[in-house]
């Protein structure tokens, strides 16, 4: 299927979309350096900065979450490609301008991790106070955490660590809060239709006309369970059961649930899926404490969604509820 996208030159996609973002939200963020997105109004000097890196083509992720109570800096890579270490270091240097310490949130993807590790080496050699947290909550990766990708779980991690930093907590405390959030979250993705790579125009994977694939990655990385297309309720049940089992959720525990659309799947469908998730949790005596349904990280016009659950404690809930004012995530 021929790609039909509103772009100009493929190689200009990233700078142009970031410029559009900055022009659309001048009160929230601005472009600094080379494809680095920063808060329009930096938080008070001395407070911990939250910095992230990641490939583009996933909008609003990741730079759409730069703003009060969330990210301070986002380093945007090329389409689906991690930014190199030199630019990550550039961002961290700006974040630590007045000696602030920095929490570096990294989604577990080979390229991102490698850039992040090299960045951490350089930062250390330059005496910068940076701690890194790796998000890896995609249970389709199997038992070994290293094999689990970072999916939409970045959102609660940005949110709670951003809120803690805003509150003036120390780097160590922010890290611990982020790690507790990360340890207690799980995500599983499903795809039903492929997307086209905006630079190459090619489909990023193939799927039969009546198939769906559970465990699909965010860049067309193949999944683990290919099956006949199921109803919304059946799909929700399959995915939720795998997630609850993996996180070992007990009756009465508080969960945050996020249904994240991949791009072409309608909010109509996401809400129908969420409805089933909510019913199933009630049946199991698990408390649906908080929820979000929408598009937070997309894969172009791919059809499918990610289902994320996270076990919440009072402090995590407090930081989740704290005010935030990013272009694509606002809490009054």
């Amino acid at each position: 299927m021929k790609m039909k996208k509103f772009i100009n030159q493929p190689q200009r996609i990233v700078p142009e979309l970031l410029e559009g973002l900055a022009l659309a939200f001048p009160d929230k963020l601005r472009l600094v350096g080379s494809n680095i997105v920063a808060r329009a109004v930096p938080k008070a000097a001395g407070k911990v900065r939250v910095v992230t890196l990641g490939g583009s083509g996933h909008e609003p992720g990741l730079s759409g979450f730069v703003g009060q109570g969330m990210l301070d800096f986002s380093v945007a890579g090329e389409i689906f490609a991690a930014p190199g270490a030199p630019r990550c270091l550039e961002a961290i240097r700006m974040a630590a301008e007045r000696g602030e310490s920095v929490l570096f949130v990294v989604l577990n993807h080979a390229g991102d991790v490698m850039s992040a590790n090299i960045t951490m080496d350089m930062a250390a050699s330059q005496g910068l106070n940076v701690k890194m947290i790796l998000t890896h909550e995609d249970i389709s990766g199997g038992p070994n955490p290293e094999d689990r990708r970072g999916l939409v779980g970045f959102l609660p991690v940005y949110k709670v660590s951003g809120a803690a930093a805003e509150e003036g907590r120390s780097l160590q405390e922010c890290l611990e809060i982020a790690e507790r959030m990360e340890r207690n979250m799980r995500t599983l993705a499903v795809a039903v239709r492929t997307a086209t790579h905006p630079s190459t125009g090619h489909a990023i994977f193939d799927l039969g006309e009546d198939e769906m694939e559970v465990g699909m990655g965010q860049h067309g990385e193949a999944g683990t369970m290919r099956m006949q297309l199921k109803t919304a309720d059946e799909t929700a049940d399959i995915m939720l059961d795998l997630l609850l089992k993996d996180l070992d959720v007990k009756r009465g525990e508080d969960l945050l649930v996020i249904v994240n659309g991949a791009g072409a799947t309608t909010l109509m469908e996401l809400l129908i899926v969420f409805r089933r998730v909510s019913h199933a949790l009630k049946e199991k005596g698990i408390n649906l404490a908080r929820s979000r349904v929408g598009e937070y990280i997309t894969t172009q016009e791919q059809a499918g969604f990610q289902l994320m659950i996270a076990r919440m404690d009072p402090e995590l809930l407090r930081y989740w509820d704290a005010p935030a004012d990013a272009p694509y995530f606002v809490t009054p």
């Binding site: 490609a81 190199g84 630019r87 490698m114 090299i118 193949a222």
Partner: protein, 220 residues
């Protein structure tokens, strides 16, 4: 037969590597789309341009500086895993003791070993994991034994290229354990790892590039 690598020879090696990648980049992306996201060819194209830029005659500075900057520049490619690995590999070469304006076979080998050491720090992947390390490690080892046998640089690089090619070929029979493809299990069986193939192409390019440079120095 080439005896030393100076700035000109390095430029020819990089140009040769770039030429090989340019002729194969589509196949590299195709391989990457089997288990990955299909961008490896594009990433390698950008990385090779950076290598060439780092060695244009206008560039001042000694070999050590050129290698470090070449590596840094490749790191800046934003290409994900492969550009990071290669960038660290080239910048790591500059960790070797490079005193003179040119390297003999032993010196070049030491530089490649330093690059491999730096790259190895960034990954837990070992031969058999179906990554570029399956080509890079045997290539550097072959370079070392050729150098110890007292072979000339041309011979040593030929040996390295053959070892890299064999290593890349061997990834066909492996399942990936690192990188995007690791989630695939059996699905990549029968296909070369794109990163490993890139490494083989690069070493082949070193040889062909050097051959040209030799040709020209003969004429000159």
């Amino acid at each position: 037969m080439t005896e030393t690598i100076g700035k000109n020879e390095l430029a020819r090696m990089f140009a040769g590597a770039a030429a090989r990648i340019r002729s194969e980049h589509e196949q590299l992306s195709e391989l990457d789309s089997i288990g990955g996201d299909g961008d490896h060819g594009a990433t390698m194209l950008r990385a090779m341009t950076r290598l060439e830029e780092a060695t244009i005659p206008e560039r001042t500075g000694d070999l050590k500086t050129i290698l470090r900057e070449a590596g840094w520049s490749v790191l800046g490619v934003d290409g994900g895993a492969s550009s990071s690995m290669l960038g660290i590999f080239f910048s790591g070469m500059s960790d070797a003791p490079i005193t003179s304006a040119s390297l003999d076979c032993a010196g070049l080998t030491a530089a490649f070993e330093a690059g491999l050491k730096a790259a190895s720090k960034q990954t837990r992947a070992v031969p058999g994991d179906k990554t570029m390390m399956d080509a890079l490690i045997p290539a550097v080892q072959a370079l070392r034994s050729a150098a110890d046998r007292g072979g000339c640089i041309t011979e040593a690089l030929e040996a390295a290229a053959n070892a890299a090619r064999a290593g890349a070929e061997s990834t066909k029979n492996l399942t990936a354990h690192y990188g995007r493809a690791k989630h695939l299990g059996e699905k990549t069986l029968g296909y070369q790892d794109p990163g490993a193939m890139s490494v083989a192409l690069i070493f082949e390019g070193f040889c062909s590039g050097l051959a040209e440079s030799k040709g020209e120095t003969d004429n000159g």
